[in-house]
């Protein structure tokens, strides 16, 4: 299709989506379904994002508790997580995100297999649940004696007036050797998991980061932010870093431990994978400690190479640069072999992805590498800056839902602030095109005429599928079987369908193979029975 036709088609699809809605809903959705058009200076159209889903419209989004406990803190194996609330919230966030973790020794603490809940009963709802929460903390201490305990508030907690922070303080006095902190991440706060990310970032920043000052040995010491080790992604990234001679001081928070968080401010640099869930941390660490950050993407072999080269540029160290180039040269041939084999079968096919706060951007690179095009994409819980780039930050409207989430004011730390780069170095880097503390967003990278849709719902997914017949659709498990009912393969990019890793060089190979298998399977072709396709066959041979 020519770009011109593509645009007309996208317009038609959008109109079709909106047709089904009452006027008010249609008006709101029209601002969240955008035809992409990239102009000079990467200027893209405005998209409405991070606004409340309309009641009764079935959304992919989860709650603030899910973003806080489930996403950001959940992958840390040696913090004991106690959910303060009725049983369901804790049950549903119990080992469901497939974050992998690998304790170094068998005796190392790993609380990931546990779901701890105060399992609120009517008595607590009526008379308050702080007492039970304290008991739960006592029990957790007796059982595990952990270094840290996180308390996560669910919806009823705020309403009955339980103060998780006061309980945390009181219990910390009782157990001075344990860092105990609470999160007011009641599910009704904010419009999606995103609020929970912010709440988690804030608390970890104020109560955890900076407590000790142990820098790991190594010349190049960095943090990786927003990498959650789904399907073992972090293990592959670690493997590559190790080969390059890069030390990871802390990962937020795939395969992470508490000990790493408390000294995270000792790193030279923050590399940000998932911008949405962790940009607050990067931003606050920059302000308080002078650690610059830049956006990386380890999804896709080319993107991995690009990110590594960015790192080499940042340090400007000859030896590191040479080493990184050697690693890329070593890793690429194996990737190429598979790429060359698979690409002819996938070339020209189309993909769609609706997931997360960054994955829908990251995975476009991977699909590109095997010749596939993303005609429509969107996020589940992102903000405008994830779409349009951080340049729009000052112009983002703050609505009631956002106002409820605390925005911390951060000052340089008198002791620990240390600018990592001097002005001349900054200028050199800028001249090289390195965007520090910035993210250009997803839209700038997408073709003109592609459809960018925020908070996609069922109805719209159906229209997309009917109109575009994509060769593959990527989202989460909630959408999986809806899409497959249409006979279209569906790849989960939250849990990876129990596959992975997909990051780095080896991950790219895994992904190419997976996509090849999925779009070239014969299963979907069998949905219509032969007698539905050629009814005359029956007529001809039927006996009278």
């Amino acid at each position: 299709m020519s770009p011109y036709d593509e645009k007309i088609k996208a317009e038609e699809v959008k109109a079709e989506m909106l047709k089904a809605y009452p006027t008010k809903v249609a008006r709101k959705r029209a601002r969240q379904i955008i035809l992409n058009e990239v102009q000079a200076g990467d200027v893209v159209p405005e998209i409405k994002a991070n606004t409340r889903t309309i009641p009764g419209i079935i959304t992919m989004r989860g709650c603030s508790y899910a973003g806080c406990k489930g996403v950001v803190l959940g992958p840390t194996r040696d913090i004991v997580h106690i959910t303060h609330g009725p049983i369901g919230c804790s049950f549903y966030s119990w080992l469901t995100r497939r974050n992998q973790t690998r304790p170094e020794k068998a005796t190392d603490a790993n609380y990931m297999p546990y779901a701890l809940s105060t399992d609120m009963q009517e008595e607590q709802i009526i008379f308050g649940g702080e007492k039970k929460l304290k008991q739960a903390i006592d029990e957790a201490v007796a059982l595990f004696n952990p270094k840290a305990i996180g308390i996560y508030a669910t919806c009823p907690v705020g309403l009955i007036g339980d103060d998780v922070h006061a309980v945390a303080r009181e219990m910390e006095e009782k157990y001075p050797h344990i860092n105990i902190f609470g999160f007011s991440c009641e599910g009704y706060k904010g419009v999606s998991q995103s609020a929970g990310h912010h709440i988690a970032n804030n608390k970890v920043f104020t109560d955890v980061v900076g407590l000790t000052h142990n820098r790991k040995p190594g010349k190049f010491v960095v943090n990786l932010l927003g990498e959650y080790n789904i399907g073992g992604d972090a293990f592959e990234i670690d493997r590559i870093f190790e080969k390059c001679g890069i030390t990871v001081q802390a990962t937020f928070s795939g395969n992470s431990v508490y000990e790493e968080f408390i000294s995270a401010h000792m790193a030279d640099l923050n590399m940000v994978m998932c911008h949405r869930s962790i940009n607050y941390m990067a931003d606050m660490m920059e302000k308080k400690y002078g650690i610059p950050w830049f956006k990386v993407n380890f999804i896709g072999a080319e993107s991995t190479a690009k990110s590594l080269r960015k790192l080499a540029d940042y340090y400007g160290d000859k030896e590191l640069t040479a080493r990184i180039e050697t690693v890329i040269a070593e890793e690429m041939p194996a990737v190429k072999i598979v790429q060359d084999e698979i690409k002819p079968r996938c070339e020209g096919k189309i993909a769609m992805m609706f997931v997360g706060g960054s994955r829908a951007h990251h995975y476009q690179d991977l699909f590109n590498e095997i010749g596939m095009k993303t005609v429509s994409a969107g996020y589940e819980f992102a903000h405008r800056d994830d779409y349009e780039g951080r340049k729009v930050l000052p112009s983002i409207e703050v609505d009631a839902d956002t106002r409820n989430i605390e925005e911390l004011t951060v000052q340089p730390d008198p002791q620990s602030y240390k600018a990592r780069l001097d002005e001349t170095r900054k200028t050199t880097l800028a001249a090289k095109g390195m965007a520090l503390n910035d993210y250009e967003g997803m839209m700038a990278q997408m073709d003109n005429g592609s459809l960018v849709i925020d908070d996609l719902n069922h109805h719209e997914a159906e229209v997309l599928i009917e109109k575009y017949h994509p060769d593959i659709f990527c989202a989460g498990v909630k959408e999986k079987y809806v899409v497959q009912k249409y006979g279209i393969p569906m790849k989960q990019l939250h849990s990876y369908d129990y596959g992975g890793p997909y990051a780095g060089f080896k991950g790219a190979v895994n992904f190419y193979k997976e996509i090849d298998r999925m779009i070239n399977t014969k299963i979907w072709g069998m949905i219509k029975a032969p007698w539905d396709i050629h009814p005359q066959v029956v007529a001809k041979y039927g006996w009278e």
Binding site: M120, G187, K480
Partner: protein
């Protein structure tokens, strides 16, 4: 640990560690999937709907839409009436359902929402058009488990819809939380008995459908609302739940209200319990047990004999919903296994007495019977009693790993194996998977 024998003032543990129960609106949502053209709507924050959808989808591997009234912080403080009305309007506009089932969440319960009143206002405001049935069920998870939510919803639907107009040669079946495959089996059985049966819920198609060639907004299948209205005229009702208090039982309600004879029995797992089902159906219909089932019964006994040398005397730990634990323990006893731990996260207060009735005295007397427990307490009991096999849902896999014994996955949720929704537990036709797999796992 809280056992029913010695009930300490307060349980040793205040917190729950690795729960052996799910939350009430999940049970409600399952039941709503079993009524034709029905959409479930949870009154509360969207997180509950999303979590519950995800959980159901990962087990059933089918689309599951559950709407939410999507509370914000303001709603949480000032009440969610307007949100609920908007949600109803949007669900009606998108799905054109025949019924919308509104279940509460902990949040709306905590603020004491009067959902009935909101629905009345909504009906009044829409008195000109035709509205779908709007049904409300209270499902606070701080008062009950997913099974409480399940039964409460079955009862609410029955109360809302059932009427009497004469007597029909039809039976109602309240099967409880069984698999879609189990449901199809029950339907086959009643067909073979030549008796019309109405199942509530019936998610045999909605939660285990085939590939579609056109998309359906609401998965096809489920018992039609119109059919459910006739429940008051049925000839009898069967209920596979013996721990359910009469005031919570839809069958008891039909009996009391419309004089529909109510027969309750254990879930028909294994020969003895299935015999009971077949006898009851014979009694109601006046028909002999169809030949296929007699043959199948013989074949099952033959399988028992084959498995016997592997399973006899094997100590087994069983956990899950109370009615499941009773049925599975009974089945285990039948094939010669010894249930040494029988545990549930539910707390009807009936588990012990029902097991005493159901199990051989020697087994029942010595078994650790635990109500209202989590997996840490089950582990403690298991360490004491050293079972060689674990039977229950997928959530016991960590325990199985710790104890280094096999886990036979049954019931709900089974999300870490393919085909959890297609497990057949009931009846005699196919050897219940638990027998076969236990035999080969040991």
């Amino acid at each position: 640990m809280r056992t029913l024998e010695a009930k300490p003032e307060k349980p040793a543990f205040a917190a729950t560690q690795n729960p052996c129960k799910l939350c009430a609106p999940l049970g409600a949502s399952l039941v709503f999937r079993g009524v034709e053209n029905t959409v479930g709507l949870l009154h509360g924050s969207q997180g509950c709907s999303t979590y519950i959808r995800r959980y159901m989808i990962s087990h059933f591997k089918e689309p599951v839409d559950i709407a939410s009234s999507n509370f914000s912080e303001e709603t949480a403080v000032f009440g969610g009436g307007e949100n609920l009305k908007t949600a109803l309007e949007n669900v009606i506009a998108q799905y054109h359902p025949q019924m919308i089932g509104v279940a509460s969440t902990c949040l709306s319960e905590t603020i004491g929402e009067d959902v009935e009143k909101i629905l009345r206002e909504f009906r009044a405001a829409h008195s000109t058009g035709t509205l779908p049935e709007l049904l409300n069920v209270s499902t606070p998870s701080y008062k009950g488990t997913h099974m409480d939510g399940f039964h409460a919803t079955v009862l609410a639907i029955t109360k809302h819809l059932a009427r009497r107009s004469g007597r029909q040669k039809t039976i109602s079946i309240f099967p409880g939380l069984i698999s879609p495959e189990d449901m199809r089996y029950l339907k086959q059985v009643t067909r073979d008995f030549d008796v019309a049966a109405v199942m509530l819920p019936d998610y045999s198609e909605t939660l285990d459908g085939g590939a579609w060639d056109t998309y359906h907004l609401i998965s096809p299948g489920g018992t039609p609302v119109a059919v459910l209205r006739e429940m008051g005229s049925h000839a009898a009702s069967l209920e596979f739940a013996t721990t359910l208090a009469p005031e919570k039982s839809a069958g008891a309600y039909l009996e009391q209200q419309f004089e529909v004879p109510h027969m309750r029995m254990d879930l028909p797992i294994g020969v003895t319990a299935s015999d009971r089902l077949f006898e009851t159906l014979s009694l109601i219909t006046g028909q002999a047990v169809p030949g296929v089932y007699q043959t199948a019964r013989g074949r099952l006994l033959d399988a028992y004999a084959d498995a016997h040398k592997h399973v006899f005397g094997v100590p087994v730990a069983i956990y899950g919903e109370e009615d499941w634990v009773i049925a599975l323990a009974g089945f285990a006893a039948e094939i010669g296994m010894v249930a040494v731990v029988c545990a549930s996260g539910g707390h009807s207060g009936q588990l012990r007495s029902r097991l005493l009735e159901r199990l051989p005295k020697t087994i029942a007397k010595t078994a650790e019977i635990l109500e209202d427990v989590d997996f840490s307490e089950i582990e403690e009991a298991a360490r004491k009693r050293q079972p060689e096999l674990l039977v229950g849902n997928s959530k016991g896999y960590a325990l199985a790993r710790k104890l280094d014994i096999p886990l036979v996955r049954v019931g709900f949720p089974v999300h870490d194996r393919i085909g959890g929704q297609r497990l057949l537990h009931l009846g005699v036709t196919r050897v219940p998977s638990v027998c076969l797999t236990s035999g080969s796992m040991l």
